[in-house]
């Protein structure tokens, strides 16, 4: 009975992505666009080389990740050290990106701030994939009552506007790197669950699965040895797009002052500090660096996700 179940699936998937990924719509396109044989050259050239932009994007993400990991080792001043003899300094050899209104080194704050975005983004998606992905894998293959229950649960969770739910929980529970990561992990579980489930479902009745079953393979073996390898490209591609979405949500929270508490730098709260009334006039650099870095990071992640999607030929008949 493909009718009811599949209909519900195609129609609900966009909603989920919707909430979780504000401002970031590569995922929406992936899900919403109906299956079609477009002349879109992008789709035809599935096996074309990744292109220089792809590698530039990888390079930028790599640079940010490495800098964030090595932040303690790099010869940087303490990001919270206030040097009152160089306030609002322009970029110079001494302070490569300048200093802010308290004389703190902007490069140092930028690099330490990257840690927050990256930790929150990658950790919550990893946790989301572990829990949501595993559940989706199993319930997509098994179906039955478990599937029905998990589906209903994921719909309810996805019916919440993510940002409001996250703000409310932060308000009552408090904000810290750990708490924000936990909250966003929970927020992405239903999303990744649905993606992996849909993909798992599409493989559940393929010939090679039937063959494995005929040969007497256990369910566990089928799920993890036959289905999982096929689901991985979809999960990774979607996971990557979700990382960008989570980074946007964390950045928005930080901008509103509801993520990691000050003075710990994060790109969102540096942007907020730099966009306050007088600051834009006096020293636009404070806001400029994290804005540029965030833009390039999101652009790069989107681009990588987009190329991977083309390479693996993921279309949204699946969802």
């Amino acid at each position: 009975m493909p009718d009811d179940r599949e209909l519900a699936d195609t129609r609900s998937a966009p909603r989920l992505l919707t909430n979780q990924v504000p401002g970031l719509a590569a995922a929406d396109e992936l899900v919403v666009s109906r299956q079609s044989e477009t002349l879109d050259s992008e789709d035809l050239l599935v096996s074309k080389p990744m292109g220089i932009l792809f590698w530039l994007a990888i390079g930028w993400v790599g640079l940010v990740v490495v800098a964030a990991i090595l932040a303690n080792v790099l010869p940087l001043p303490n990001p919270d050290f206030q040097n009152y003899s160089s306030i609002n300094a322009s970029p110079s050899l001494h302070h490569l990106l300048g200093t802010d209104d308290l004389g703190r080194d902007l490069l140092s704050r930028l690099i330490f701030g990257a840690r927050v975005s990256l930790v929150v983004g990658f950790c919550s998606v990893t946790v989301g994939l572990l829990f949501g992905g595993t559940l989706g894998l199993i319930s997509g293959y098994k179906g039955g009552r478990l599937d029905t229950a998990l589906n209903a649960g994921s719909f309810v969770l996805l019916a919440f506007p993510a940002i409001v739910a996250v703000i409310a929980i932060v308000a009552f529970w408090g904000a810290s790197l750990f708490k924000v990561t936990v909250i966003l992990s929970v927020a992405v579980i239903p999303l990744l669950y649905r993606v992996v489930r849909a993909s798992s479902l599409s493989f559940a009745n393929r010939e090679f699965v039937t063959a494995a079953r005929t040969l007497g393979a256990t369910s566990a073996r089928i799920v993890f040895r036959e289905i999982l390898p096929n689901v991985v490209p979809v999960a990774v591609t979607f996971g990557l797009i979700t990382v960008a979405g989570v980074i946007v949500i964390e950045g928005s929270l930080a901008f509103l002052g509801l993520s990691v508490p000050l003075p710990t730098p994060s790109w969102g709260n540096i942007i907020a500090e730099g966009s306050s009334n007088g600051e834009l006039n006096i020293n636009p650099y404070i806001m400029l660096w994290p804005v540029l870095s965030m833009f390039l990071l999101l652009l790069s992640i989107n681009l990588i996700g987009d190329r991977l999607r083309q390479r693996f030929d993921i279309r949204e008949g699946l969802l």
Partner: protein, 314 residues
């Protein structure tokens, strides 16, 4: 059709119920005793017991929920601990601002995205198409908190075209109100333009390869007629779905720009309430926004069935 809507409506009621329970429980997640929050840590146990009784905190949880929900249906969401204003008053004065921001931004988004897609989809991979496809891909990486400060720096601080902060109520001075709202609306419109344009363009391109379009062409119909009468509607389903999906992002966007521009909408009040630990205000706004969001999704589903009747076919 009726059956489909009954099911969707039941879904709506269940989700709204669960939202109300979760939002109610939020306050009970608070570490410590709410009476301590209200009275301060130094008050006597006796006073606390009295307040417990006044607030109904000594009743079983489910009973408290029922009382609270009754209040909600009577338009009573409690009052702020700080200024003792009813929460509903804050919400009443705030929501039109959010709605205005969303409407202006969506009008701009559709006015830009739809005509652009209609033009570029006829000749994919030409210069104009490549430029718009590339630039909208870039816009996908510009969430409001990234683009809004840049816009303020350029258009408010640099060029002085718009005020950097401030808000005039629409009823007081419509022209000034719109003028103040343009910059914030533009900041949240970027993402919408990108999504709508990219979706609509790719759907138009695939529609234009359908047999009925070739048929229309061979009948000698004008290009404009074909685009608007034959290609538009069958290509607009994903656009509508995307608009529905987009609401979550728009809510987040309005919160950001209200905070940045000091516009007293729901997001601004919410953030302020969070910072001042004004819990009933947080609870009330969360409830109203979440329920409004769910109801909007329901309405968009309904519109969807109007545009594409296949949806309800079971």
């Amino acid at each position: 059709m009726a059956k489909y809507f009954l099911r969707r409506f039941l879904q709506l009621v269940v989700v709204a119920f669960i939202i109300s329970v979760l939002v109610f429980l939020l306050v009970h997640l608070l570490p410590g005793d709410p009476t301590v929050v209200i009275l301060g840590a130094n008050d006597t146990a006796h006073n606390r017991a009295i307040l417990d009784q006044q607030l109904g905190l000594n009743l079983p949880l489910w009973h408290q929920y029922v009382i609270w929900l009754k209040g909600v249906f009577h338009g009573n969401l409690g009052q702020s601990y700080l200024n003792h204003q009813p929460v509903t008053a804050t919400i009443k004065s705030g929501w039109p601002i959010d709605v205005e921001l969303i409407i202006i931004s969506q009008v701009i988004a559709f006015l830009v995205a739809i005509p652009l897609a209609l033009v570029t989809s006829r000749r994919p991979n030409r210069a104009l198409d490549n430029i718009s496809t590339t630039s909208t891909f870039g816009m996908l990486a510009l969430p409001p908190f990234v683009i809004a400060p840049i816009m303020v720096a350029v258009f408010a601080v640099g060029l002085h075209w718009f005020p950097a902060t401030g808000y005039v109520p629409f009823t007081q001075d419509p022209a000034a109100n719109i003028h103040d709202m343009i910059l914030p609306s533009l900041a949240i419109t970027a993402g919408s333009i990108a999504v709508y344009y990219r979706l609509f363009r790719s759907d138009l391109i695939s529609t234009l390869q359908e047999d009925f379009i070739t048929m229309a062409r061979s009948k000698g119909l004008s290009n404009r007629w074909i685009m608007w009468r034959h290609a538009f509607r069958p290509s607009s389903f994903s656009l509508l779905a995307a608009a529905g999906v987009n609401i979550g992002a728009l809510i987040a966007g309005t919160f950001i720009v209200e905070f940045l521009f000091a516009i007293p909408g729901l997001g601004y009040s919410l953030v302020q309430a969070v910072n001042q630990r004004d819990y009933l205000v947080v609870q009330g706004i969360t409830l109203v926004v979440a329920v409004a969001y769910v109801v909007l999704q329901f309405i968009i589903d309904f519109l969807f069935t109007v545009v594409d009747p296949r949806v309800t076919r079971e």
